[in-house]
């Protein structure tokens, strides 16, 4: 099923398809499908590809023109993501700033912050990392302990962040900090923008289970940033963070789903090559894998249609992540089983093929962006209205 949004959007789609056909060539084409929301592979090529996109004016399709965007609407953004994923272009190295920080600044940032930070994001001149999680605060962000204190015109920040995606490349971090030392839980937090190029910031890579430097831990000891680097109100960092996570949950599913569809097609191809379709047990699992990606597609189309109609998305917008992440893992297990013993053999330097990498990285999908257990709490409490668990 194709989304059709009328003639103006159709022209936009054609222009984009042509551009992708002309530019997704050479080493960029060799890295089709490389990367993922959590994948640090082929960094230099992907960075170059982001610059290519930037030069073509394709970054920030929905952002205002004054900040270097295209000033188009939600429809064009959706079509962009859809066509981009359909073309199997490499995952954007700047995704973190494009999908999370940028929309957050556009939503709650001060005018000076927008002017200062948005254009370099679109020009791929400054890279960003997200400093939310901490060793003691993964999904439970209200337990954030990183402190920030005012010292004249500056904030002085100390603490430790972890799971900072692409942290080793970050020029700036957006950091959730506790600015009221006496506060508890989600009160007294503030969102700060912090430059990494200073003595108080130490960033160490963490290798993920696929062997990539995907994320980092960040040590802040009296790191400094300007007093004007608070996004939203001081003490309202929780609200700012939640707005960002809402954006994250909404935007990553569409491109993911197209990737999953490609994986399902390739799984069927693999099964055909190996004669596995004649095995009724395997065929049943293969059909179920196909069903689950088709269900994801329709669920996402429902949400997109509601968003573009100006409606508040229904419950499926919240259940989609739990469904997609668990079913993608099942698909990966099945693909590995179909590959058989050959599926265990990796290249030199733990070089993984697309199937192996996607399978291993899928293990993170039920953790990042709010773990499955957190998702179930959100669904149970916020959608079904079940009582909260009593807090000690």
């Amino acid at each position: 099923m194709e989304l059709d949004f009328g003639p103006a959007v159709r022209d936009f789609r054609e222009e984009l398809r042509d551009w992708l056909a002309d530019h997704l060539v050479g080493e960029f084409a060799e890295h089709r499908g490389v990367g993922g929301p959590t994948d640090g592979a082929a960094w230099e090529v992907r960075l170059a590809w982001d610059r290519e996109l930037s030069a073509g004016g394709w970054l920030g399709v929905g952002w205002p023109r004054e900040y270097g965007g295209r000033g188009l609407g939600l429809l064009e953004e959706i079509v962009f993501e859809y066509e981009y994923a359909r073309a199997n272009a490499p995952y954007r190295a700047t995704g973190n700033a494009l999908d999370l920080l940028g929309p957050m600044l556009l939503k709650v940032g001060a005018d000076e912050q927008k002017k200062r930070f948005l254009p370099p994001i679109l020009a791929v001149e400054e890279l960003w990392g997200q400093g939310f999680s901490e060793p003691g605060a993964g999904s439970d962000l209200a337990s954030v302990r990183t402190r920030a204190e005012r010292d004249g015109d500056e904030w002085v920040v100390s603490g430790q962040k972890v799971w900072t995606s692409f942290g080793v490349h970050a020029d700036w971090l957006y950091v959730l900090t506790r600015t009221d030392p006496d506060s508890v839980r989600h009160k007294g937090l503030s969102m700060l923008l912090l430059p990494t190029d200073q003595p108080g910031v130490e960033i160490r890579p963490i290798r993920n289970l696929a062997g990539q430097d995907e994320f980092a831990e960040v040590f802040l000891s009296d790191a400094r940033t300007g007093a004007d680097m608070v996004v939203g109100e001081v003490g309202q960092g929780w609200r700012t963070a939640m707005a960002t996570l809402g954006i994250e949950r909404g935007t990553t599913l569409l491109p993911q789903q197209l990737t999953f569809e490609r994986e399902a097609e390739s799984l069927i191809e693999l099964a055909r090559e190996r004669g596995a379709l004649d095995d009724p047990m395997l065929r049943r699992r293969i059909v179920d894998a196909w069903i689950s990606v088709r269900v994801m597609r329709t669920t996402n189309l429902r949400t997109l249609a509601e968003l573009t109609a100006g409606r508040t998305p229904g419950a499926q917008a919240t259940t989609a992540k739990l469904y997609a992440s668990t079913r993608h893992q099942q698909l990966g297990h099945l693909a590995q089983e179909l590959a058989g013993p050959a599926g265990q053999i990796v290249g030199a330097d733990y070089g993984l093929d697309t199937r192996q990498r996607s399978f291993l990285l899928s293990l993170a999908e039920t953790i990042y962006g709010g773990s499955s257990e957190i998702q179930r709490n959100i669904i149970g409490e916020q959608i079904l209205g079940l009582p909260k668990e009593p807090r000690p």
């Binding site: 099923m1 059709d4 069927i268 099964a271 379709l277 065929r283 049943r284 293969i286 059909v287 179920d288 196909w290 069903i291 088709r294 269900v295 329709t298 669920t299 189309l301 429902r302 997109l304 249609a305 509601e306 109609a309 409606r311 229904g314 419950a315 499926q316 259940t319 989609a320 739990l322 469904y323 257990e373 998702q375 179930r376 709490n377 669904i379 149970g380 409490e381 959608i383 079904l384 209205g385 079940l386 009582p387 909260k388 668990e389 009593p390």
Partner: protein
């Protein structure tokens, strides 16, 4: 293509829901479940007269309102939620669809207005003792005589077969599979009710002994018509299953909110909360599966409909059974009693699972349609 519900469709849902809350409440469902015919003529007439539900998707030229499948899906969703016992599925999803899809203008003009007005209860008799829903499963024969066509053989598991005024019967003729219309009072027709596990949807066995029948459409051309009818009915059944599952979850959630154990509502324990969340994930995914079928039907895309229909039956059947079973579990001991309505949903789920073919059968249909 509009993939969201319009304000009118939302209003239709509200109207149908409040109608069914009144006329298909638990007391009505239990009363009709215990009745061998299981039908309330007053409610059936109101469904047609006040709401136009029987003729909703029947074209205006045949006395209907000419709405699309998304609207019809909304009604089936609500019918499933209310466990409606009226012969709505048999009449609208099976019989009316078969007539709409056959190549016989005269039959449509003769038979559809009665369905649309609520005057005719109808059904489709396809399955036989083998319980198969495919073409080779049709063994009942028809032969042409100087006095017209005659049917000989038996059909079984026919939804509302005892009640129906009009029976559409699939039969084998020298030319292939053909469709016939048989009146309830036809000579040589014997109808026997089948006591069913799910008492909210009746079934019957029909025996034909040289029974006169009217040929619908050209002889030997009915299988593709029946295939499309079954695909449509599969999608509408999926919508009904989604509604049933949603009601089963709502009941479980309401109970989990008020039932106190160990000093707090059981819904505050993650063991229960997470189970409810998983139920909603099943339902929303099933909703997507059913909607994809409705959209394909409204787009008039037979290929896409065939795929979406098999997917919807494979998925929604299992989702409804799972959710209805979990609802009993969350209700605890009370959920296991005859007095509590949870078992009514569970039994409807189990019977719907096989009504148009089992989930495994639909997976195989899907695999065949995808070339897997």
């Amino acid at each position: 293509m509009d993939l969201t519900f319009s304000q009118e469709q939302d209003e239709l849902r509200t109207v149908v829901r409040s109608f069914l809350a009144k006329y298909s409440d638990e007391a009505a469902v239990r009363r009709l479940a215990a009745d061998p015919r299981g039908h309330d003529a007053v409610v059936w007439r109101r469904m047609a007269g006040e709401l136009g539900l029987q003729g909703l998707a029947v074209p205006e030229e045949y006395g209907g309102s000419g709405f699309g499948y998304v609207e019809l899906g909304v009604v089936f969703d609500e019918a499933g939620r209310a466990l409606l016992c009226e012969p709505y599925f048999a009449t609208v999803a099976l019989a009316a669809e078969a007539l709409l899809r056959c190549a016989d203008d005269q039959a449509r003009a003769d038979l559809l207005p009665g369905i649309a007005s609520g005057a005719t209860i109808a059904t489709l008799a396809l399955t036989e003792d083998s319980g198969r829903w495919d073409e080779p499963g049709i063994r009942l024969t028809a032969h042409d005589t100087p006095d017209g066509w005659r049917l000989t053989g038996a059909k079984t598991y026919v939804p509302d077969g005892l009640l129906a005024d009009l029976l559409l019967v699939a039969a084998r003729t020298p030319g292939g599979i053909s469709l016939f219309a048989v009146g309830a009072d036809a000579a040589g027709l014997t109808r026997t009710p089948l006591p069913t596990l799910d008492q909210t949807r009746k079934q019957a066995r029909l025996e034909f002994a040289d029974t006169p029948a009217r040929l619908i459409g050209p002889e030997g051309t009915a299988w593709p018509v029946l295939e499309r009818t079954l695909a449509t009915a599969s999608v509408l059944l999926a919508a009904e299953q989604v509604g049933g599952a949603a009601a089963a979850l709502d009941a479980a959630v309401d109970y989990a909110r008020i039932r106190v154990q160990y000093g707090r509502p059981i819904g505050s324990f993650q063991g229960i909360k997470h189970k409810c969340a998983d139920m909603l994930v099943e339902i929303e995914s099933a909703r997507s599966a059913a909607y994809a079928g409705l959209w394909a039907l409204d787009a008039g895309d037979d290929t896409e409909t065939a795929v979406a229909a098999a997917l919807a039956q494979a998925f929604c059947s299992e989702a409804f059974t799972k959710v209805a079973g979990d609802s009993i579990q969350i209700h605890g001991g009370i959920g296991f009693t005859w007095e509590h309505p949870a078992h009514l949903y569970f039994k409807r789920a189990k019977s719907s699972e096989v009504l148009l073919g089992t989930p495994s059968y639909h997976r195989e249909l899907l695999a065949a349609r995808l070339g897997i």
